[in-house]
């Protein structure tokens, strides 16, 4: 039986790795990967707590919803990144400083 705190600590470390990627990376795709890490840390917490919730299984159901939302967000974000590249010729988030024209 794995203690619950170990799941939480693993997901905390994973969340901080994702936070570091979002804050420091100069490439929109790597920022996107960092966001995926943070989402996965959240899903890991949901799943870890759902072990103690057999009747409602709310954790597992909402983990599934979160996985679906992450997939949708990746599809939209990649489309946006490709369009931004077409317009600015760069995908460095700090160089994209105007919304239109």
């Amino acid at each position: 039986m794995i203690p619950l705190a170990h799941f939480l600590i693993i997901s905390a470390i994973l969340f901080c790795i994702g936070l570091y990627a979002v804050l420091s990376k100069k490439n929109a795709i790597q920022v996107l990967i960092g966001i995926e890490f943070m989402l996965n840390a959240g899903i890991l917490n949901f799943v870890a707590f759902s072990k103690y919730d057999r009747i409602n299984s709310g954790g597992q159901v909402f983990a599934l919803f979160a996985i679906v939302l992450a997939a949708a967000s990746v599809a939209v974000a990649l489309a946006i990144i490709l369009n931004v590249y077409k317009k600015y010729n760069t995908i460095d988030p700090s160089k994209i400083n105007e919304l239109r024209d």
Partner: protein
């Protein structure tokens, strides 16, 4: 230390090491392939939390969908983008604020976890409500999605439809 713990900590180490390598690696394609290893190992951790269906969904949606989408979008798009993706090396000083913020945040999170002692929470003490390895959790999830969580399920399906139409609209070539 029994077999379960050995495999669990092996998967946990694999998640953390590969995630760390993903964010420190300079080659983008290589870091996307390492992201693949991370997601697979996270699916392994889900199995240890007795969520086999979620682990399967993770493998199918993340590994089969998201990663292939990421690779395809950048390998099938124009060549200049791939040339432009050569990542520039950054000094440690440049990354220092980000490292500082994430380490402080990690310290806060672990402190909270240690202080709050999640094992002793009141609503976790009811042993009848604990998931057993022999339980059929897919059956339970199916019933719950169609009864108790029907509204979130419908909202998610509408949002997925919106994201699909939006992504197709944004990604099309001609000007509107």
């Amino acid at each position: 230390m029994n077999m379960e713990q050995v495999v669990f900590y092996f998967f946990a180490a694999m998640v953390l090491v590969s995630a760390f390598l993903v964010v420190t690696m300079n080659n983008l394609v290589r870091s996307i392939f390492l992201f693949f290893v991370t997601l697979f190992s996270i699916a392994g951790l889900y199995i240890f939390a007795l969520a086999d269906f979620v682990a399967l969904a993770q493998v199918v949606i993340y590994v089969g969908g998201v990663l292939v989408l990421m690779l395809f979008a950048f390998m099938l798009s124009n060549k200049e983008l791939l040339n432009d993706l050569k990542l520039t090396k950054r000094t440690a000083l440049y990354n220092f604020p980000a490292i500082l913020v994430s380490v402080i945040f990690l310290f806060i999170l672990i402190n909270v976890i240690v202080i709050s002692k999640p094992e002793n929470l009141n609503w976790l003490q009811n042993r009848i409500n604990w998931l057993q390895p022999s339980d059929n959790s897919v059956h339970q999830i199916g019933i719950q999605v169609m009864t108790r969580y029907l509204l979130p399920f419908e909202v998610v399906s509408i949002l997925l439809l919106m994201a699909l139409i939006g992504a197709a609209h944004i990604a099309r070539k001609d000007k509107i």
